[in-house]
């Protein structure tokens, strides 16, 4: 560990050891200096004291001339191994007594020297006077070992040992204690390395101390959290950017494809619209020449009619497709029998089938096929399929149409023996302006609108249409599935439907629309049909009119100044007298949400502009004849304007 992480741990160790070492060396130097200075003084003081003691004890011996006693006194220096030799001199300086340490090679002088202490090499000499009653009676002289160097040597040895021991102890203590300092730091380092390696910002360092390292740990963790959060944010925004980019790219591709199709469509459209024009022009020329040839004129007229019909049908289909695409096509559902619809479609398609010399076979079940559907639109679907079959089959082919009930659905199949469809094209034939054969030599080209319209209309009815083919040249089969109506068809007597002119008359009708032309024209029409009609051009006026007039039916525009149609409907519904008034919304908005909004506001019906007269007449026809209400007391009609 100590090898691998050569940083803080080692540094702390070095600091501790260096500090210990320096402190010890400084202490040692101070000690040696102190010792050097004090040892001399202490030794001199010690020897002087010793000499003084000898002087005091030897004074009587000198006084009474007793060298033996003096020698005895001197011999007490035996207990001081440092003393090598000593002597006592008498009053006149004569050697009185002498002491020599055994084995010591030290001499005392024959006569006393100067009093005081002096150091000579490894010897120290102290000489003191012996004074008795203020009178100098002799001299004491001591020679001792001056051991400074040896002592210093000993000191250095001891200090060296202490130094080594201290460093060892410091090393151990530091190694034990630094764990509390370095362990948290190493943990931070460890986590930092793991974060870098694994890119895992969820790692955290465990806080194990309350000191600066603890603060560092907290800050580090907070930083990790912040970095992690930002990294996540960047990643998330990258992901969403990528998704967005993919979406944008696909949208762009779709747009480009749509643009391409539009160009193709425009080219085809121009071509198709132009096609009937040449025969028409020829017909016109024929008519000019044919004043005296009635048969020629008739042929020309017939041909021109056919061309015109084709053109009208083309434009109608285009308009329908456009309406479906913009959600403006509204089905007029009614209870119908599919067999009637197929019959109508066959009638429509029969001239073209006959012109192509095809044989048509029809196979329908015996019972009725009840549907809740728009008969006109469904007839359009099957006519288109039949026309399509006739067009893409070589003259003299066979076309079959049959219908079967499968569960709660009815399945209608239109089968031909024509050119067939390449498997890759099976789905694409329903795309707008798709052509099975893009070549200029194609025998009979349609605009590619019929199938698109058929699929859209079937879808509006909650059904589906698919194309099948064994392949090119093997004929095609179009299968339409439509949901059957739950209840059997209400047998509406023809007689009740026919006299619509009568049933749509005699009602009190209110028209509210800020488009004055529309309002007044509708009012004129309804008046002509024998209804009593009032007109208002904004919501507020409409409300007043409604309260005064109490209409049986009210046609209300939605977008109006002052009071919009929804609010107006709500306020009318709030009037008890108007509770049973049939409210019809007339609006340019045909989305589902608009219908719901109308329903919520209290409207009974929702018609999308432009409204056909038939739709209005239908509404008036379905109104119950309320003779009783018309006979009752009515609000003053004079208050309203027409």
């Amino acid at each position: 560990m100590l090898r691998t992480v050569r940083s803080i741990r080692d540094k702390v160790m070095y600091v501790v050891l260096a500090t210990t070492f320096v402190a010890l060396v400084v202490a040692a130097v101070a000690l040696v200096v102190y010792e050097t200075v004090t040892y001399r003084d202490a030794t001199i003081a010690d020897l002087t004291t010793q000499a003084d003691l000898i002087a005091i004890t030897s004074a009587p011996a000198l006084s009474f001339n007793d060298p033996a006693a003096a020698s005895e006194n001197l011999s007490m220096l035996r207990v001081r191994p440092g003393v090598l030799a000593a002597s006592v001199y008498g009053r006149g300086g004569e050697l009185f007594a002498i002491y020599r340490k055994p084995d010591a090679r030290a001499e005392v002088p024959e006569r006393p020297e100067a009093d005081g202490a002096r150091v000579a090499g490894d010897r120290i000499v102290v000489q003191q006077p012996i004074v008795e009653r203020g009178e100098r009676v002799g001299t004491v002289y001591i020679v001792a070992q001056y051991e400074l160097m040896r002592r210093l040597g000993n000191y250095l040895v001891i200090l060296g040992a202490v130094l080594v021991l201290s460093l060892g102890v410091a090393f151990i203590v530091s190694a034990l204690m630094q764990a509390t300092v370095t362990a948290p730091i190493l943990e931070v380092t460890d986590v930092a390395e793991r974060v870098i390696d694994q890119r895992d910002f969820s790692l955290r360092v465990k806080r194990s101390s309350d000191d600066e390292v603890g603060t560092l740990v907290d800050a580090f963790n907070a930083m990790l959290a912040e970095v992690g959060r930002r990294a996540d944010e960047i990643e998330a925004s990258n992901r969403s950017l990528q998704t967005e980019m993919v979406e944008r790219r696909s949208a762009e591709d779709a747009l480009r494809a749509a643009d391409r199709r539009k160009d193709e469509f425009l080219a085809t459209l121009a071509h198709e619209l132009r096609n009937p024009l040449a025969p028409l022009r020829n017909g016109l020329a024929l008519l000019k020449l044919a004043s005296e040839r009635p048969d020629l004129a008739r042929d020309a007229r017939d041909m021109m009619e056919r061309q015109l019909d084709q053109m009208v049908r083309l434009v109608d289909d285009l308009l329908d497709v456009s309406r479906i695409a913009t959600g403006k096509l509204a089905l007029r559902r009614a209870r119908i029998d599919l067999k009637d619809v197929i019959a109508a479609a066959v009638e429509t398609a029969r001239p073209f089938i006959a012109a192509r010399s095809h044989r048509l076979e029809i196979a329908l079940p015996d019972g009725p096929l009840p549907l809740e559907a728009d008969a006109t639109r469904l007839a359009q679907v099957f006519a288109n399929l039949l026309n399509n079959a006739a067009r893409y089959t070589e003259p003299g082919g066979r076309i079959t149409i049959d219908a079967q009930v499968e569960g709660r659905e009815v399945v209608v199949r239109v089968v031909d023996t024509g050119i067939g469809i390449d498997p890759a094209m099976l789905d694409r034939v329903f795309e707008l302006f798709a052509q099975a054969d893009q070549s200029l030599e194609r025998p009979t080209a349609g605009l590619g609108v019929g199938l698109t319209l058929a699929r859209a209309l079937v879808a509006l009815h909650g059904g589906a249409v698919v194309a099948r083919s064994e392949g090119s040249g093997k004929g095609s089969e179009f299968v339409v599935r439509l949901p059957l109506a739950a209840r059997p068809i209400a047998t509406v007597p023809e007689s009740q439907r026919q006299p619509s002119g009568l049933r749509s008359a005699g009602h009190r009708v209110l028209v509210v629309d800020d488009n004055r032309d529309f309002a007044s024209s509708l009012a004129m029409l309804l008046s002509e049909l024998g209804n009593e009609v009032r007109v208002a051009n904004d919501g507020a006026q409409g409300l007043d009119e409604a309260k005064a007039f109490v209409p049986q039916v009210a046609f209300l525009d939605i977008g109006m100044p002052k009071l919009n149609g929804y609010r107006l409907a709500e306020m009318m519904r709030a009037e008890s007298a108007l509770a049973h008034t049939h409210l019809v919304a007339l609006t340019g908005w045909g989305q589902e949400k608009d219908r719901r909004a109308a329903q919520d506001a209290g409207f009974d019906r929702h018609l999308v502009k432009p409204v056909k007269l038939e739709q209005i007449l239908d509404i008036l026809e379905t109104l119950p004849t309320r003779e009783g209400s018309s006979a009752g007391p009515r609000p003053d009609a004079g208050a309203s304007s027409s």
Partner: protein, 181 residues
């Protein structure tokens, strides 16, 4: 060179003859010095002095020479605050008012009587006769075999006279006769 040698020989010869002749005077001088020095090692009771600065009085009996030596020694000297007086005692003269009584060898016969008369008196009796301690002397000066002057001490006699002798003095004594319990 010859003159120096000759002079040195003459001095040595003179000194040798002087030592041989002046044996007694040297011994007397040493003894006188000892008597004087004893003052420093003996404590007298306060009653032994009339005043704090009253002088020591040393009486000398039977040795005119020693009295003279003492006079020379104490001239101009004092022990502590006190001066030292030397008093030559005649025969029959009472040995009273003395701090030290030196009894010379000629008067040894009277020593016992004197000591008895001084019994209880704060007087240090110093003698120079062998066996004088038995006669009541406190310190008896003797000449040792090496010719040095030594002394012996009778502590019982010192105690009888109310004197206290320094242990340092006792340490130098040739012999010490112990005192009472």
């Amino acid at each position: 060179m010859v003159a120096v040698v000759r002079t040195a020989v003459a001095i040595v010869a003179l000194a040798a003859s002087a030592l041989a002749f002046a044996q007694a005077p040297l011994e007397r001088a040493v003894k006188a010095a000892y008597v004087y020095k004893f003052l420093a090692y003996v404590d007298w009771p306060a009653t032994a002095f009339d005043a704090p600065d009253a002088p020591f009085v040393i009486g000398v009996l039977g040795s005119e020479a020693i009295a003279d030596e003492l006079r020379q020694i104490v001239a101009g000297r004092s022990v502590g605050e006190r001066a030292v007086q030397i008093k030559r005692l005649r025969e029959g003269e009472p040995a009273t008012g003395l701090h030290v009584l030196f009894v010379g060898r000629p008067e040894t016969a009277r020593l016992a009587a004197l000591a008895r008369s001084l019994h209880g008196q704060p007087t240090l009796v110093v003698s120079e006769s062998p066996g004088a301690l038995g006669a009541g002397s406190t310190i008896n000066l003797v000449v040792a075999t090496d010719g040095r002057v030594r002394f012996e001490i009778a502590l019982d006699a010192a105690e009888h006279n109310g004197l206290r002798l320094s242990s340092r003095l006792l340490a130098l004594a040739q012999s010490v006769r112990p005192g009472g319990p």
